[in-house]
């Protein structure tokens, strides 16, 4: 490790002398705990030179069966029991046994220490790749990116998961597995709507959860009772209240609204709603930074391992095996390939990260025109800045360069059901770059991807029905499972649930649970404006 000091950042510039001093850590593909430790130390040294700031790593060596377990629980080292995880597990087991899918080499979640898994079947090269990718790539992303910093608390997530698991197990023994399972089904159906998109959440802390949980139960119940008080108050004050809509503003966080206001839930049920909501919130940044996170991790495993090669820490065989695996990870099948299943976040992220470095180091005329701020700047600083301050949507909007669009041959199509044909709006050419970039960024906006559904109104003085509103985006209607989801909302709310789908403030479709009898459809049509 002594020689690492004299290697500087530009060590990637192939220095032929280094090849002569090849002194690899290991020569075969066998791994051992000592070797893993040695590789980790070497990679950590180089990572520090590149200013990767990480949580401590906890590297766990596991078997493929354990990997499947880890997969089935979305990488959470422990989770409460639910049949849907069993379904996930069976699915993975089946495709793994049939050889349809290799298990990914890594799973990491944002915790402190950062837990990464190495599979025992892998070769030393793959273990090193995973260490570089997960323990230094993802790990530094979790620690640095603003979304993770503000929305999740890496120190307490494990404790919180333990709390959640124990609490739900306790509820199961007290209220029966089936009842808890049904409640979880309903909560999972709304999981994507259990997130504060704009308000910064209060960090979760297991200690506090335990202490405050009982207090909260009572307090919550009291609040709810207040809301639903049926004894009429003084005449004047009720009148005043009736004019107010409840909630005063539409609410985006359905689970939060239900937890705080659903009239019939027991305290333990509210707590479970809260648990699902908290976990959804925890994974929210993950869903918003797929491209960046994978791109960052891929860029760093590529850079770190290549640096190792340049310094003679690894053999040629090692680097070939690594490159073979790396290229298949960043392969982007074209849209008409049978293997195409959307844009590969590894491919897009890696090309963008690599391209940012290129723009900084070797800017062209075009780059100077498109990226006057970063062309020719210090690449490491620029890359770190990008990692820290963006999410997928804004990252693409800011950094997707014409060169990447040309390399990936990106084009933008518009499929409008009012037109007879699909229109190619823009391609990777001078007049199209801007449009392609904007559309691609929009594609990563969770707000566009998921229907925008909010709590609109509760009929407090009447039948206690809950009305949700869907604001259509580009006239996109709701999908087929809407009725099913409404049943779940109904189970949580306990009274009638209505969902109105709005397009430019006009209601174009409504859903009800329990379903409304036909006759009411007439009323609805009466209320629709006649002319469009």
């Amino acid at each position: 490790m002594s020689e690492q000091e004299n290697g500087s950042n530009d060590s990637l510039d192939q220095n032929p002398e280094n090849h002569l001093r090849r002194n690899p850590i290991s020569e075969t593909s066998e791994w051992s705990f000592d070797l893993i430790e040695e590789y980790d130390r070497a990679i950590a040294g180089i990572a520090a030179e590149y200013k990767l700031d990480t949580y401590p790593n906890q590297i766990e060596v596991i078997s493929s069966e354990q990997m499947m377990d880890a997969y089935a629980s979305v990488g959470m080292p422990l989770g409460y029991h639910h049949w849907s995880y069993g379904k996930q597990f069976l699915n993975i087991e089946h495709s793994y046994n049939r050889g349809q899918m290799g298990l990914a080499y890594e799973i990491v979640i944002n915790s402190n220490p950062c837990i990464a898994y190495l599979m025992e079947e892998n070769t030393m090269t793959m273990q090193a790749l995973v260490i570089a990718h997960a323990c230094y790539g993802h790990n530094s992303f979790f620690k640095g990116n603003y979304l993770f910093r503000t929305w999740t608390d890496a120190d307490s997530i494990i404790d919180y998961l333990v709390f959640a698991k124990n609490y739900i197990a306790k509820c199961e023994s007290r209220h029966g597995i089936e009842e808890v399972e049904a409640l979880l089904d309903s909560c999972h159906a709304l999981m994507n709507y259990g997130v504060d998109r704009y308000k910064r959440p209060y960090p979760i802390s297991a200690e506090e959860e335990r202490l405050r949980q009982e207090e909260r139960e009572q307090h919550l119940q009291r609040q709810v009772n207040d809301l639903w008080r049926t004894i009429p108050g003084q005449q004047g004050s009720t009148k005043l209240k009736e004019n107010l809509r409840f909630p005063e503003e539409p609410q985006e966080n359905l689970l939060y609204f239900i937890e705080k206001n659903a009239p019939l839930l027991e305290p333990w049920q509210r707590e479970i709603v809260r648990i699902v909501r908290k976990i959804a919130q925890y994974f929210y940044p993950q869903r918003q930074t797929q491209v960046m996170n994978e791109g960052w991790a891929t860029f760093w495993h590529y850079t770190l391992l290549n640096t190792m090669y340049d310094r003679g820490f690894v053999t040629e065989g090692f680097i070939f095996e690594f490159l073979q695996s790396h290229t298949s990870v960043v392969y982007q099948p074209p849209f008409d390939s049978p293997y195409f299943s959307g844009i590969n976040p590894y491919a897009l992220g890696f090309s963008m990260m690599t391209d940012i470095r290129r723009i900084c180091e070797h800017p062209t005329e075009e780059d100077r025109h498109w990226f006057p701020d970063i062309a020719g700047s210090d690449w490491l600083e620029t890359l770190h800045f990008a990692m820290r301050n963006f999410k997928d949507e804004s990252f693409i909007l800011q950094y997707l360069s014409p060169k990447v669009m040309r390399d990936l041959k990106l084009f933008c199509i518009v499929d409008d059901d009012r037109q007879r044909e699909i229109n190619v709006e823009a391609i990777h050419d001078e007049s199209g770059y801007q449009r392609v970039r904007e559309s691609l960024a929009g594609q990563y906006n969770l707000g566009n991807r998921e229907p925008n559904i909010q709590v609109y109104k509760v009929d407090i003085r009447g039948d206690r029905s809950l009305t949700l509103q869907h604001i259509q985006h580009n006239r996109k209607p709701l999908g087929k499972s809407t009725e099913e989801v409404l049943k779940h909302v109904h189970r949580l709310w306990g009274f009638d649930v209505h969902l109105q789908s709005l397009q430019n403030d006009e209601i174009t479709a409504t859903f009800h649970c329990p379903p409304k009898p036909e006759s009411n459809m007439d009323d609805l049509e009466m209320s629709l404006p006649v002319i469009n």
Binding site: V61, H82, I343, V414, D416, D417, H473, P477
Partner: protein, 429 residues
């Protein structure tokens, strides 16, 4: 900075609970898949694991998502010859087609079948779920074979492995208190006196008295210390006693017709039926004996191997098998000890006047001794004399006699289930 942990020895079945819950939730689907599978299997691999597939739409978890329609903008990679302004005809079927691209993954309703694997163990569990031998009531203290250990309090003797530490120490403590309390009292007294004596003014102090006290205290201390901390007779042992477990002894007679009239397909069906029965017994009733009888014009008791694989054949006299069954019964299985079952498979073909002999044998000699007797007739043709005679038997012995017809392989499992379905009323009665 990094901690490396070997977790390979940790349990790898973290998902077992979740998996079980999934299987439980979709047991109806799985059961259907299992019963389909049983029909399609060859005789030899009837007890393997199975690939189960469930219609995907039955198990999706619903979420709010966008449906088809509206204005969708998509960016796709790998453009070859499109230029801005090109019009592409909409691919038929919409979803998933080249044009709708990445949107499809969000909108996909999961129409595909959900496929997964269950183990052999689980397969058999599902296959024989809710089945039982009816009327299994005679329970017998069979003596030396099976015992259950039961706790029976505390004893003063036992082997060292059974020492009850709490009880032993408690009794040691009691003994020590009993043996020393008088002496301790005296000791305290003397100590007080000594203190008093030493507290006196030097002029008044009686050194002799002090010395005497000290000597006495020393002696007392010594005697207290001589009481052993733990003595042999303090030791208490957990006492376990053996209780014999009453259990049901049962024997199943499998009677198979192998006459010339049974063609290969019919024999195959009969064998499958008995294999199912045999598996069921082996799995759910550990202490069940099975007697295999095959017959054409004459009956013969055979072993498992011969029963399923021998090719011997001839004419048909069904009563020969019943007679042999009666003989074996009388010789080896006293009805006071044994729960006796019979299962007979035949194509219904019989020697002309033999059928009435059969029904007489059954009604007079056999059925009064039996818990349950089932007859399956494997024939796509019209029933013959045997079936009609047996119908009469059924009219007289409805609760212990059952008959069913099997036409082709697919019927085997449903018929089997029907014959051995758990009967709530009879169990409680």
């Amino acid at each position: 900075m990094s901690y490396i942990i070997d977790r390979r020895l940790n349990s790898k079945n973290k998902s077992t609970v979740n998996r079980q819950r999934f299987l439980k939730r979709y047991r109806k689907h799985i059961q259907k898949a299992v019963s389909d599978a049983v029909g399609q299997r060859s005789i030899t691999d009837i007890d393997k694991g199975e690939q189960i597939s469930i219609p995907g739409k039955d198990i999706t978890e619903p979420i709010f998502h966008h449906g088809q329609g509206g204005k969708n903008t998509n960016v796709l990679p790998g453009n070859k010859d499109f230029i801005a302004g090109d019009k592409i005809p909409r691919p038929p079927g919409g979803e998933g087609g080249g044009g709708s691209g990445s949107g499809a993954s969000d909108q996909g309703e999961g129409i595909d079948e959900f496929v997964f694997q269950i183990t052999q163990e689980e397969f058999l569990d599902f296959m024989f779920e809710d089945l039982e031998l009816p009327n299994l009531i005679k329970r017998q203290l069979a003596g030396s074979e099976e015992f259950k250990m039961r706790r029976a309090g505390i004893a003063n003797e036992g082997n060292p492995g059974r020492i009850n530490i709490v009880r032993s120490l408690r009794s040691a403590n009691a003994r020590r208190i009993a043996l020393t309390s008088g002496k301790r009292k005296k000791l305290r007294q003397l100590e007080e006196e000594l203190k008093h004596e030493e507290g006196l003014d030097a002029a008044l102090r009686n050194q002799l008295r002090i010395d005497a006290l000290e000597a006495e205290i020393e002696a007392l201390r010594h005697r207290i210390n001589r009481v052993p901390w733990l003595d042999d007779f303090d030791l208490k042992y957990n006492l376990h006693v053996k209780d014999p477990v009453p259990r049901s002894k049962a024997v199943m007679f499998c009677l198979m017709d192998v006459s010339g009239s049974m063609n290969q397909a019919t024999k195959d069906i009969a064998k499958r039926f008995f294999i199912l029965l045999y598996l069921f017994l082996q799995r759910n009733y550990e202490h069940t004996e099975v007697v295999f009888i095959r017959h054409h014009t004459s009956a013969k008791e055979v072993d498992e191997q011969e029963f399923f694989y021998s090719r011997e054949t001839g004419g048909t006299i069904v009563s020969s098998a019943l007679k042999l069954m009666k003989e074996i019964l009388d010789k080896r299985y006293p009805i006071s000890e044994w729960n006796i079952y019979g299962a007979q498979a035949s194509d219904g073909d019989n020697w002309n006047d033999d059928s009435s002999t059969c029904s007489q044998l059954l009604m007079k000699d056999l059925l009064p001794k039996l818990q349950y007797y089932s007859y399956i007739e494997i024939t796509p043709r019209d029933h013959q004399a045997l079936w009609r005679e047996y119908q009469e038997v059924q009219a007289n012995f409805g609760d212990v006699f059952a008959m069913q017809q099997i036409i082709d392989v697919r019927d085997i499992y449903p018929v089997f289930r029907e014959l051995f379905q758990k009967r709530a009323a009879q169990v409680s009665g």
